[in-house]
């Protein structure tokens, strides 16, 4: 049996989304910058796509920029806003549980002379308004705090944090990659100025992301050239990808309630079983303020990657945290940030559930997991 419980790393493209992309992968192949009919038809579809996104997210169509990934969006926004707004100040605040692409963008700014500070989180993985208030000042250009963490699923109080940023005249960005399809992002209500999404995290295609850049916010583009996206992001429009992203987002919003119920029931079932059948386990992160798809579990006295590999050979795909390849330090900086005992830092597995998982798959996974844990513990030196 094959079981995929790594839906936070990437999801399987929804066949309905692929069907929607098909015409753009055949007849509708025009370059949306061309002024002949095939090009202009593509351009009109692009405009409509932006309007759909704006409606879903409650933002403005002109603020929607399509990119190749959330990584690109985060690089564009973090570096671009900082570099274009030096008249406003020289300080950037990002939480210390951000994805590497936000962290590395911030580090690049630090090397370029900006003051970059990392806002700590509490033991639940939450940035508190108090901590943000402590670090923010009138030099602060931008505050970037992810909506949902990719490793432990923690949900931040974005509206409250955005309000603090605005009070001090700073822009507020949120990496909302892991929020879809769990939360109903509402740009205006939440006070979001800038936002990033990646289609493949919500059953859309790989290779397409979104950057929302609020009206009037100056951003230095990352990729210059043919003037596409109002000069904010050059390169021939990837229309099949864009149409896929937009339709996947529509499905996410439309089917949200059913989806949430499904993954929550899977998660509850799985966690109850694990707690009952495997000893020495502990949930990492907030038990309540987290998306229902995420379980990050510590398995005492055995090493995470060994668990992962052992399960993988049994057909079960899980993760030790993030799917990033640049893990210079094996231990998760997110788990460090929430203050996990350092003896536990290398014993964690992230299970992330999704649309296509079934209870049967979970039963199989539990069976495998029991064997794996038992085997690895049988020769662990840690008592």
């Amino acid at each position: 049996m094959k079981v995929y419980l790594d839906n936070a790393a990437t999801t399987r493209l929804d066949p309905r989304v692929l069907a929607k992309m098909k015409p753009y992968l055949s007849d509708k192949y025009g370059n949306a910058s061309s002024i002949h009919s095939l090009g202009q038809e593509a351009f009109l579809e692009l405009q409509k796509a932006k309007e759909s996104v704006a409606k879903l997210l409650n933002g403005e169509a002109e603020s929607v920029i399509f990119t190749s990934s959330a990584t690109e969006s985060n690089n564009l926004i973090i570096k671009g806003v900082a570099l274009a707004n030096q008249a406003k100040g020289n300080k950037i605040l990002v939480s210390n549980i951000e994805h590497p692409c936000v962290r590395e963008s911030a580090n690049e700014l630090a090397r370029a002379g900006f003051v970059v500070e990392f806002v700590p989180v509490n033991s639940e993985g939450l940035v508190t308004p108090e901590e943000l208030e402590k670090l923010i000042d009138k030099e602060t250009i931008l505050v970037s705090i992810m909506t949902v963490n990719n490793e432990i699923g923690t949900i931040q109080d974005i509206a409250a944090l955005a309000k603090i940023a605005h009070k001090h005249g700073a822009y507020f960005h949120t990496d909302a990659v892991q929020a879809i399809p769990y939360l109903k992002i509402d740009i205006k209500k939440m006070g979001i100025d800038l936002l990033s999404l990646s289609a493949h995290k919500f059953y859309g295609p790989k290779g397409v992301g979104l950057a929302y850049i609020g009206k009037g916010i100056k951003v230095k583009p990352l990729i210059v050239g043919g003037g596409q996206e109002n000069g904010m992001r050059a390169g021939t429009y990837n229309l099949p990808g864009i149409m896929g992203l937009v339709f996947a987002l529509e499905l996410a919003y439309k089917e949200r309630a059913t989806y949430l119920k499904h993954v929550k029931s899977l998660k509850d079932y799985f966690w109850q079983k694990i707690k009952k059948e495997i000893s020495g386990v502990k949930l990492n992160g907030s038990a309540t303020k987290r998306v229902p798809a995420n379980l990050n579990i510590m398995f005492g006295s055995i090493e995470g990657e060994a668990i992962l590999m052992d399960l993988s050979y049994k057909g079960v795909c899980v993760s030790t945290g993030s799917a990033c390849s640049a893990t210079d330090l094996r231990a998760s900086s997110v788990l460090k940030a929430i203050g996990l005992n350092k003896n536990y830092l290398n014993s964690n597995i992230r299970f992330s559930f999704g649309r296509y998982n079934t209870k049967k798959e979970l039963d199989y996974t539990i069976k495998c997991l029991k064997d794996t844990v038992k085997r690895l513990r049988s020769f662990s030196p840690i008592k």
Binding site: M309, Y313, F379, I382
Partner: protein, 155 residues
């Protein structure tokens, strides 16, 4: 990250040889620790200058387990002198290669073995004096630092 282990490495991970402890070992060493993400404990039984038995415990990743398994298999029966010259490159080639970010595992396994041999030799010298827990901890610490350095440069 490429983690395409060879079939042999996978076999050693899924079915490791020489796992367990030896009661009253002639030599013992712990290398690495769980904070750094991998730890190996080696136990030696020595007879007439030869490694009569060797066992290990592991808190570590698949290649940590596989390299220790292969190495113990290879050095069992060897003379202490030969075992002291055993090289980590041998593990890598015997496994048919290791992903480059995992090569440090083989280095650590060999270091652990040598530490256990050193412990054996020390016990031989000071026949009656058993190494105290405190001394051992110091040794472990030193080794850990070395292993860690290797790891970061390799990655």
């Amino acid at each position: 990250m490429a983690l395409n282990y060879t079939k042999k490495t996978v076999d050693h991970f899924l079915h490791p040889h020489n796992i367990g402890e030896i009661k009253k070992p002639d030599g013992y060493a712990q290398i690495g620790n769980m904070v750094c993400g991998d730890q190996l404990d080696f136990f030696l039984k020595v007879e007439k200058g030869k490694i009569k038995d060797v066992k290990f415990l592991s808190f570590g990743c698949a290649s940590n387990i596989a390299t220790a398994s292969l190495m113990t298999e290879k050095v069992k029966g060897m003379t202490i002198e030969a075992a002291k010259k055993y090289k980590w490159e041998k593990i890598v080639s015997d496994l048919g290669g290791l992903p480059h970010q995992k090569v440090h595992c083989s280095v650590m396994a060999v270091q652990g073995l040598k530490k256990a041999i050193a412990d054996y030799e020390k016990r031989q010298e000071t026949e009656k004096a058993k190494p105290t827990k405190v001394v051992m901890k110091v040794i472990v610490k030193k080794v850990t630092v070395k292993a860690k350095k290797k790891k970061t440069t390799k990655k």
